[in-house]
Amino acid sequence: MKHHHSHRDQQSDGVSRREFLHRSSSALAGAVAIVLILPEGSAAGISGADYDWDRHTWVYVIDTTKCIGCGSCVRACRTENSVPEGMYRTWVERYEIPVTGEAFVDSPDGGEHGFDPVTSGMNVGKGFFVPKMCNHCRATPCTQVCPVGASFTTRDGVVLVDAEHCIGCGYCVQACPFGSRFINPTTHTADKCTWCYHRITKGLTTACVEICPVGARLLGNRDDPDDPVNEILATRRVQVLQPELLTRPQCFYLGLDMEVR
Protein backbone atom coordinates (compact mmCIF):
# COMPACT_ATOMS: atom_id res chain seq x y z
CA MET A 1 0.00 0.00 0.00
CA LYS A 2 2.81 2.38 0.93
CA HIS A 3 4.40 1.79 -2.42
CA HIS A 4 1.23 2.62 -4.29
CA HIS A 5 0.83 5.70 -2.19
CA SER A 6 4.28 7.12 -2.94
CA HIS A 7 3.86 6.31 -6.58
CA ARG A 8 0.75 8.43 -6.72
CA ASP A 9 2.66 11.20 -4.93
CA GLN A 10 5.29 11.26 -7.62
CA GLN A 11 2.62 11.42 -10.23
CA SER A 12 1.14 14.40 -8.48
CA ASP A 13 4.54 16.12 -8.84
CA GLY A 14 4.04 15.89 -12.58
CA VAL A 15 6.73 13.43 -13.70
CA SER A 16 6.91 9.70 -13.04
CA ARG A 17 10.22 7.85 -13.28
CA ARG A 18 9.03 6.05 -16.38
CA GLU A 19 8.00 9.29 -18.01
CA PHE A 20 11.23 11.01 -17.01
CA LEU A 21 13.36 8.30 -18.55
CA HIS A 22 11.22 8.30 -21.64
CA ARG A 23 11.47 12.06 -22.10
CA SER A 24 15.18 12.30 -21.40
CA SER A 25 16.03 9.44 -23.78
CA SER A 26 13.99 11.16 -26.50
CA ALA A 27 15.87 14.38 -25.82
CA LEU A 28 19.20 12.54 -26.00
CA ALA A 29 18.25 10.84 -29.25
CA GLY A 30 17.20 14.19 -30.67
CA ALA A 31 20.46 15.83 -29.63
CA VAL A 32 22.49 13.01 -31.18
CA ALA A 33 20.46 13.25 -34.39
CA ILE A 34 21.10 17.00 -34.63
CA VAL A 35 24.82 16.51 -34.00
CA LEU A 36 25.03 13.81 -36.68
CA ILE A 37 23.10 15.78 -39.28
CA LEU A 38 24.76 19.17 -38.72
CA PRO A 39 27.90 18.91 -40.89
CA GLU A 40 26.08 17.55 -43.96
CA GLY A 41 26.73 20.18 -46.59
CA SER A 42 25.45 20.68 -50.09
CA ALA A 43 28.56 21.69 -52.02
CA ALA A 44 28.43 22.07 -55.79
CA GLY A 45 31.08 19.40 -56.33
CA ILE A 46 33.99 19.16 -58.71
CA SER A 47 32.91 21.54 -61.42
CA GLY A 48 34.65 24.29 -63.24
CA ALA A 49 35.82 25.40 -66.64
CA ASP A 50 38.19 22.43 -66.92
CA TYR A 51 36.08 19.58 -65.58
CA ASP A 52 32.52 19.03 -64.39
CA TRP A 53 31.85 15.73 -62.67
CA ASP A 54 28.12 16.11 -63.11
CA ARG A 55 28.63 15.85 -66.88
CA HIS A 56 30.65 12.62 -66.68
CA THR A 57 29.81 8.99 -65.93
CA TRP A 58 32.88 6.92 -66.63
CA VAL A 59 32.66 3.41 -68.06
CA TYR A 60 35.31 1.04 -69.37
CA VAL A 61 35.27 -1.41 -72.28
CA ILE A 62 37.72 -4.32 -72.61
CA ASP A 63 37.92 -6.22 -75.90
CA THR A 64 39.37 -9.65 -75.10
CA THR A 65 39.45 -10.53 -78.81
CA LYS A 66 42.10 -7.83 -79.36
CA CYS A 67 44.35 -8.30 -76.31
CA ILE A 68 47.77 -9.79 -77.16
CA GLY A 69 48.97 -10.18 -73.56
CA CYS A 70 52.01 -7.90 -73.88
CA GLY A 71 51.53 -6.60 -70.33
CA SER A 72 52.18 -2.96 -71.31
CA CYS A 73 49.09 -1.85 -69.38
CA VAL A 74 50.35 -3.50 -66.20
CA ARG A 75 53.74 -1.79 -66.52
CA ALA A 76 52.22 1.57 -67.44
CA CYS A 77 49.85 1.40 -64.47
CA ARG A 78 52.74 0.68 -62.14
CA THR A 79 54.78 3.70 -63.27
CA GLU A 80 51.86 6.09 -63.59
CA ASN A 81 50.50 5.28 -60.14
CA SER A 82 53.64 4.22 -58.25
CA VAL A 83 52.11 0.79 -57.55
CA PRO A 84 54.51 -1.18 -55.29
CA GLU A 85 56.28 -4.24 -56.74
CA GLY A 86 54.24 -7.40 -56.41
CA MET A 87 50.94 -5.51 -56.18
CA TYR A 88 48.61 -4.93 -59.12
CA ARG A 89 45.88 -2.42 -59.85
CA THR A 90 45.43 -4.14 -63.20
CA TRP A 91 46.63 -7.52 -64.42
CA VAL A 92 46.26 -9.79 -67.42
CA GLU A 93 45.10 -13.42 -67.26
CA ARG A 94 45.81 -16.00 -69.93
CA TYR A 95 43.25 -18.68 -70.77
CA GLU A 96 44.11 -21.69 -72.89
CA ILE A 97 41.18 -24.04 -73.20
CA PRO A 98 41.83 -27.44 -74.76
CA VAL A 99 39.34 -29.16 -77.04
CA THR A 100 38.71 -31.65 -74.21
CA GLY A 101 39.75 -31.32 -70.59
CA GLU A 102 40.45 -28.62 -68.05
CA ALA A 103 41.13 -25.01 -68.94
CA PHE A 104 44.62 -23.68 -68.26
CA VAL A 105 44.67 -20.25 -66.62
CA ASP A 106 47.69 -18.28 -65.46
CA SER A 107 48.88 -14.76 -64.82
CA PRO A 108 52.64 -14.82 -64.06
CA ASP A 109 53.55 -11.53 -62.31
CA GLY A 110 50.13 -10.26 -63.38
CA GLY A 111 51.35 -10.45 -66.98
CA GLU A 112 53.72 -7.57 -66.26
CA HIS A 113 56.66 -9.20 -68.08
CA GLY A 114 54.54 -10.77 -70.80
CA PHE A 115 53.80 -14.47 -71.17
CA ASP A 116 56.09 -17.32 -72.15
CA PRO A 117 54.39 -19.80 -74.48
CA VAL A 118 52.76 -22.70 -72.67
CA THR A 119 54.71 -25.84 -73.56
CA SER A 120 52.39 -28.47 -72.12
CA GLY A 121 51.63 -29.69 -75.61
CA MET A 122 47.91 -29.48 -75.10
CA ASN A 123 45.62 -29.11 -78.06
CA VAL A 124 44.35 -25.57 -77.50
CA GLY A 125 40.85 -25.15 -78.89
CA LYS A 126 40.58 -21.51 -77.91
CA GLY A 127 42.97 -19.17 -76.19
CA PHE A 128 42.71 -15.55 -75.15
CA PHE A 129 43.92 -12.94 -72.69
CA VAL A 130 41.64 -11.17 -70.23
CA PRO A 131 42.82 -7.87 -68.73
CA LYS A 132 41.31 -7.30 -65.31
CA MET A 133 41.04 -4.36 -62.95
CA CYS A 134 38.58 -2.71 -60.59
CA ASN A 135 35.10 -2.84 -62.12
CA HIS A 136 34.04 0.39 -60.38
CA CYS A 137 30.71 -1.28 -59.55
CA ARG A 138 27.60 0.86 -59.18
CA ALA A 139 26.42 -1.25 -56.22
CA THR A 140 29.81 -2.01 -54.82
CA PRO A 141 30.30 -4.06 -51.66
CA CYS A 142 33.74 -2.54 -51.00
CA THR A 143 32.51 0.92 -50.04
CA GLN A 144 29.62 -0.52 -48.05
CA VAL A 145 31.87 -2.46 -45.66
CA CYS A 146 34.32 0.38 -44.97
CA PRO A 147 33.88 1.20 -41.28
CA VAL A 148 35.31 4.73 -41.55
CA GLY A 149 34.02 5.99 -44.89
CA ALA A 150 37.44 5.90 -46.54
CA SER A 151 36.10 4.14 -49.65
CA PHE A 152 33.60 6.02 -51.74
CA THR A 153 32.19 6.52 -55.22
CA THR A 154 32.66 9.91 -56.86
CA ARG A 155 29.76 11.61 -58.58
CA ASP A 156 31.26 10.67 -61.96
CA GLY A 157 31.25 6.98 -61.05
CA VAL A 158 34.78 6.23 -59.88
CA VAL A 159 35.42 4.15 -56.75
CA LEU A 160 38.28 5.70 -54.80
CA VAL A 161 40.14 5.20 -51.53
CA ASP A 162 40.95 8.08 -49.21
CA ALA A 163 44.42 6.98 -48.12
CA GLU A 164 44.53 9.73 -45.47
CA HIS A 165 41.44 8.37 -43.77
CA CYS A 166 41.85 4.61 -44.37
CA ILE A 167 42.76 2.59 -41.28
CA GLY A 168 43.99 -0.40 -43.30
CA CYS A 169 41.60 -2.91 -41.77
CA GLY A 170 41.30 -4.76 -45.06
CA TYR A 171 37.54 -5.34 -44.95
CA CYS A 172 37.16 -3.90 -48.46
CA VAL A 173 39.96 -6.16 -49.75
CA GLN A 174 37.93 -9.16 -48.60
CA ALA A 175 34.61 -7.71 -49.76
CA CYS A 176 35.69 -7.25 -53.38
CA PRO A 177 34.64 -10.37 -55.33
CA PHE A 178 37.10 -9.52 -58.13
CA GLY A 179 40.29 -9.30 -56.07
CA SER A 180 40.82 -5.74 -57.26
CA ARG A 181 42.03 -4.32 -53.95
CA PHE A 182 45.15 -4.81 -51.88
CA ILE A 183 46.80 -3.31 -48.83
CA ASN A 184 49.64 -1.10 -50.01
CA PRO A 185 52.77 -2.33 -48.19
CA THR A 186 54.22 1.21 -48.15
CA THR A 187 51.24 3.17 -46.87
CA HIS A 188 49.47 0.23 -45.12
CA THR A 189 46.19 1.47 -46.56
CA ALA A 190 43.78 0.00 -49.11
CA ASP A 191 44.84 0.59 -52.69
CA LYS A 192 43.10 0.05 -56.01
CA CYS A 193 42.60 1.21 -59.58
CA THR A 194 41.43 4.83 -59.73
CA TRP A 195 40.78 4.84 -63.48
CA CYS A 196 43.68 7.32 -63.31
CA TYR A 197 41.40 9.92 -61.75
CA HIS A 198 44.25 12.45 -61.95
CA ARG A 199 44.33 11.99 -65.73
CA ILE A 200 40.68 11.59 -66.71
CA THR A 201 39.70 14.76 -64.89
CA LYS A 202 42.35 16.62 -66.94
CA GLY A 203 41.14 15.52 -70.36
CA LEU A 204 43.56 12.58 -70.64
CA THR A 205 42.68 8.91 -70.72
CA THR A 206 43.96 6.29 -68.28
CA ALA A 207 47.59 5.13 -68.56
CA CYS A 208 46.48 1.60 -69.50
CA VAL A 209 44.22 2.82 -72.31
CA GLU A 210 46.90 5.27 -73.46
CA ILE A 211 49.57 2.57 -73.73
CA CYS A 212 47.56 -0.38 -75.15
CA PRO A 213 48.98 -0.99 -78.65
CA VAL A 214 45.96 -2.89 -80.01
CA GLY A 215 43.03 -0.86 -78.66
CA ALA A 216 41.82 -3.62 -76.36
CA ARG A 217 41.05 -1.08 -73.64
CA LEU A 218 38.80 1.95 -73.80
CA LEU A 219 37.53 4.41 -71.23
CA GLY A 220 34.60 6.63 -72.05
CA ASN A 221 31.96 8.99 -70.79
CA ARG A 222 28.40 7.64 -70.68
CA ASP A 223 27.03 11.21 -70.60
CA ASP A 224 28.62 12.19 -73.92
CA PRO A 225 26.54 10.81 -76.84
CA ASP A 226 29.52 11.15 -79.18
CA ASP A 227 31.84 9.07 -77.02
CA PRO A 228 32.85 5.83 -78.82
CA VAL A 229 31.99 3.68 -75.77
CA ASN A 230 28.32 4.54 -76.19
CA GLU A 231 28.24 3.12 -79.70
CA ILE A 232 29.93 -0.08 -78.49
CA LEU A 233 27.51 -0.50 -75.60
CA ALA A 234 24.56 0.25 -77.87
CA THR A 235 25.47 -2.04 -80.77
CA ARG A 236 27.77 -4.79 -79.47
CA ARG A 237 27.12 -7.75 -77.19
CA VAL A 238 28.85 -7.06 -73.91
CA GLN A 239 29.18 -8.94 -70.66
CA VAL A 240 30.40 -8.13 -67.16
CA LEU A 241 32.33 -10.31 -64.72
CA GLN A 242 30.23 -12.26 -62.19
CA PRO A 243 26.90 -10.60 -63.08
CA GLU A 244 25.15 -12.97 -60.64
CA LEU A 245 26.58 -10.95 -57.74
CA LEU A 246 24.52 -7.92 -58.80
CA THR A 247 27.34 -5.49 -58.06
CA ARG A 248 26.68 -3.79 -61.43
CA PRO A 249 30.26 -3.65 -62.75
CA GLN A 250 31.11 -0.77 -65.06
CA CYS A 251 33.86 -2.62 -66.95
CA PHE A 252 32.17 -4.14 -69.98
CA TYR A 253 33.82 -7.06 -71.77
CA LEU A 254 33.64 -7.99 -75.42
CA GLY A 255 34.22 -11.66 -76.31
CA LEU A 256 34.14 -12.93 -72.74
CA ASP A 257 34.16 -16.72 -72.36
CA MET A 258 32.17 -18.62 -69.74
CA GLU A 259 35.46 -19.92 -68.28
CA VAL A 260 36.27 -16.39 -67.11
CA ARG A 261 35.14 -15.49 -63.61
Binding site: G149, Y197, T201, P213
Partner: protein, 163 residues
Protein backbone atom coordinates in the same frame (compact mmCIF):
# COMPACT_ATOMS: atom_id res chain seq x y z
CA UNK B 1 2.24 15.02 1.76
CA UNK B 2 0.53 17.23 -0.75
CA UNK B 3 2.11 20.33 0.79
CA UNK B 4 5.61 19.09 -0.07
CA UNK B 5 7.82 21.52 -1.98
CA UNK B 6 7.64 20.61 -5.69
CA UNK B 7 11.43 21.22 -5.99
CA UNK B 8 12.31 18.86 -3.13
CA UNK B 9 13.47 16.13 -5.51
CA UNK B 10 14.72 18.41 -8.23
CA UNK B 11 18.38 17.50 -7.67
CA UNK B 12 17.71 14.15 -9.38
CA UNK B 13 16.58 16.01 -12.46
CA UNK B 14 19.58 18.36 -12.34
CA UNK B 15 21.96 15.41 -12.03
CA UNK B 16 20.41 13.71 -15.04
CA UNK B 17 20.40 16.96 -17.01
CA UNK B 18 24.07 17.54 -16.17
CA UNK B 19 24.92 14.01 -17.28
CA UNK B 20 23.02 14.58 -20.52
CA UNK B 21 24.84 17.87 -21.07
CA UNK B 22 28.22 16.21 -20.54
CA UNK B 23 27.34 13.43 -22.99
CA UNK B 24 26.16 15.87 -25.66
CA UNK B 25 29.15 18.18 -25.13
CA UNK B 26 31.54 15.22 -25.42
CA UNK B 27 29.84 14.16 -28.66
CA UNK B 28 30.08 17.63 -30.16
CA UNK B 29 33.67 18.17 -29.05
CA UNK B 30 34.59 14.65 -30.17
CA UNK B 31 33.14 15.31 -33.61
CA UNK B 32 34.92 18.65 -33.91
CA UNK B 33 38.16 16.92 -33.06
CA UNK B 34 37.84 13.65 -34.99
CA UNK B 35 35.73 14.46 -38.05
CA UNK B 36 37.86 15.77 -40.93
CA UNK B 37 37.20 19.30 -42.12
CA UNK B 38 35.67 18.46 -45.49
CA UNK B 39 33.71 15.43 -44.30
CA UNK B 40 30.29 15.17 -45.90
CA UNK B 41 31.05 17.83 -48.51
CA UNK B 42 29.86 15.54 -51.32
CA UNK B 43 28.77 12.42 -49.43
CA UNK B 44 29.79 10.11 -46.63
CA UNK B 45 33.51 10.69 -47.18
CA UNK B 46 36.22 13.34 -46.91
CA UNK B 47 35.56 15.77 -49.76
CA UNK B 48 39.19 16.86 -49.99
CA UNK B 49 40.15 13.29 -50.97
CA UNK B 50 38.72 13.89 -54.46
CA UNK B 51 41.01 16.87 -55.02
CA UNK B 52 43.98 14.96 -53.63
CA UNK B 53 43.41 12.22 -56.20
CA UNK B 54 43.14 14.80 -58.98
CA UNK B 55 46.40 16.45 -57.91
CA UNK B 56 48.56 13.35 -58.47
CA UNK B 57 51.28 13.74 -61.11
CA UNK B 58 50.78 12.66 -64.72
CA UNK B 59 53.68 10.58 -66.07
CA UNK B 60 52.56 9.36 -69.50
CA UNK B 61 52.27 12.25 -71.94
CA UNK B 62 51.34 10.50 -75.19
CA UNK B 63 53.11 10.71 -78.55
CA UNK B 64 52.29 14.41 -78.82
CA UNK B 65 54.60 15.07 -75.87
CA UNK B 66 57.54 13.65 -77.84
CA UNK B 67 56.90 15.41 -81.12
CA UNK B 68 58.27 18.91 -80.33
CA UNK B 69 61.83 17.59 -79.86
CA UNK B 70 61.76 14.34 -81.88
CA UNK B 71 59.81 15.38 -84.95
CA UNK B 72 61.78 13.17 -87.38
CA UNK B 73 61.14 9.98 -85.35
CA UNK B 74 57.56 11.08 -84.74
CA UNK B 75 56.90 11.53 -88.47
CA UNK B 76 58.51 8.20 -89.40
CA UNK B 77 56.59 6.37 -86.67
CA UNK B 78 53.24 8.01 -87.46
CA UNK B 79 53.02 6.52 -90.97
CA UNK B 80 54.35 3.01 -90.19
CA UNK B 81 52.57 -0.13 -89.02
CA UNK B 82 53.74 0.66 -85.49
CA UNK B 83 51.76 3.91 -85.43
CA UNK B 84 49.30 2.54 -82.82
CA UNK B 85 52.24 1.59 -80.59
CA UNK B 86 52.85 4.55 -78.30
CA UNK B 87 56.41 5.91 -78.00
CA UNK B 88 56.18 5.38 -74.25
CA UNK B 89 55.35 1.67 -74.57
CA UNK B 90 58.97 0.92 -75.51
CA UNK B 91 60.72 4.00 -74.12
CA UNK B 92 58.90 4.53 -70.83
CA UNK B 93 56.94 7.52 -69.53
CA UNK B 94 57.99 10.97 -70.70
CA UNK B 95 57.88 12.39 -67.17
CA UNK B 96 61.08 10.49 -66.31
CA UNK B 97 62.81 12.08 -69.31
CA UNK B 98 61.62 15.68 -69.51
CA UNK B 99 59.78 18.29 -67.51
CA UNK B 100 57.15 19.26 -70.06
CA UNK B 101 56.07 22.45 -68.32
CA UNK B 102 59.60 23.80 -67.92
CA UNK B 103 60.79 22.30 -71.21
CA UNK B 104 63.79 20.79 -69.45
CA UNK B 105 65.44 17.44 -70.03
CA UNK B 106 65.74 15.45 -66.81
CA UNK B 107 67.40 12.22 -67.91
CA UNK B 108 68.19 10.14 -70.98
CA UNK B 109 65.34 8.05 -72.26
CA UNK B 110 66.14 4.34 -72.04
CA UNK B 111 66.46 2.74 -75.46
CA UNK B 112 65.98 -1.01 -75.19
CA UNK B 113 67.47 -2.65 -78.26
CA UNK B 114 66.51 -6.10 -77.06
CA UNK B 115 64.79 -9.01 -78.70
CA UNK B 116 62.78 -9.54 -75.53
CA UNK B 117 61.09 -6.19 -76.01
CA UNK B 118 59.80 -7.25 -79.45
CA UNK B 119 58.85 -10.68 -78.14
CA UNK B 120 56.51 -9.19 -75.55
CA UNK B 121 54.09 -8.64 -78.42
CA UNK B 122 55.31 -10.82 -81.28
CA UNK B 123 56.34 -14.15 -79.77
CA UNK B 124 53.98 -16.86 -81.02
CA UNK B 125 51.31 -17.72 -78.45
CA UNK B 126 48.24 -19.93 -78.61
CA UNK B 127 46.29 -17.30 -76.66
CA UNK B 128 47.07 -14.44 -79.10
CA UNK B 129 44.55 -13.48 -81.77
CA UNK B 130 45.59 -15.36 -84.92
CA UNK B 131 45.35 -12.16 -86.98
CA UNK B 132 48.15 -10.58 -84.94
CA UNK B 133 51.68 -10.94 -86.44
CA UNK B 134 53.63 -13.36 -84.26
CA UNK B 135 56.72 -15.49 -84.77
CA UNK B 136 58.98 -18.08 -83.21
CA UNK B 137 62.17 -16.01 -83.18
CA UNK B 138 64.54 -18.95 -83.66
CA UNK B 139 62.61 -20.28 -86.64
CA UNK B 140 62.28 -16.80 -88.09
CA UNK B 141 66.02 -16.15 -87.82
CA UNK B 142 66.85 -19.56 -89.24
CA UNK B 143 64.60 -18.97 -92.24
CA UNK B 144 66.08 -15.54 -92.91
CA UNK B 145 69.73 -16.38 -92.28
CA UNK B 146 70.08 -14.33 -89.11
CA UNK B 147 71.93 -15.14 -85.91
CA UNK B 148 70.22 -15.57 -82.56
CA UNK B 149 71.64 -12.56 -80.73
CA UNK B 150 70.04 -10.40 -78.02
CA UNK B 151 69.34 -7.60 -80.52
CA UNK B 152 68.84 -9.72 -83.65
CA UNK B 153 65.52 -8.07 -84.58
CA UNK B 154 67.13 -4.69 -85.19
CA UNK B 155 69.48 -6.02 -87.87
CA UNK B 156 66.52 -6.07 -90.26
CA UNK B 157 63.70 -4.12 -88.60
CA UNK B 158 63.44 -0.48 -87.63
CA UNK B 159 61.16 -0.55 -84.59
CA UNK B 160 59.80 2.93 -85.42
CA UNK B 161 58.50 1.62 -88.72
CA UNK B 162 59.12 -2.11 -89.26
CA UNK B 163 59.27 -3.88 -92.68
Amino acid sequence: MTSENPLAHSKHVFRAALLLLIVVATLILGRLFFVPETWGEYGFYRGAAVGEHRAKPVRFGGDEACEPCHDAEYAEHAVGVHAPVRCELCHGPVALHADLEEGEKLADMPIRRSRELCELCHRAQAARPTSFPQIDVREHLLENGGEVTPDACFDCHDPHSPY
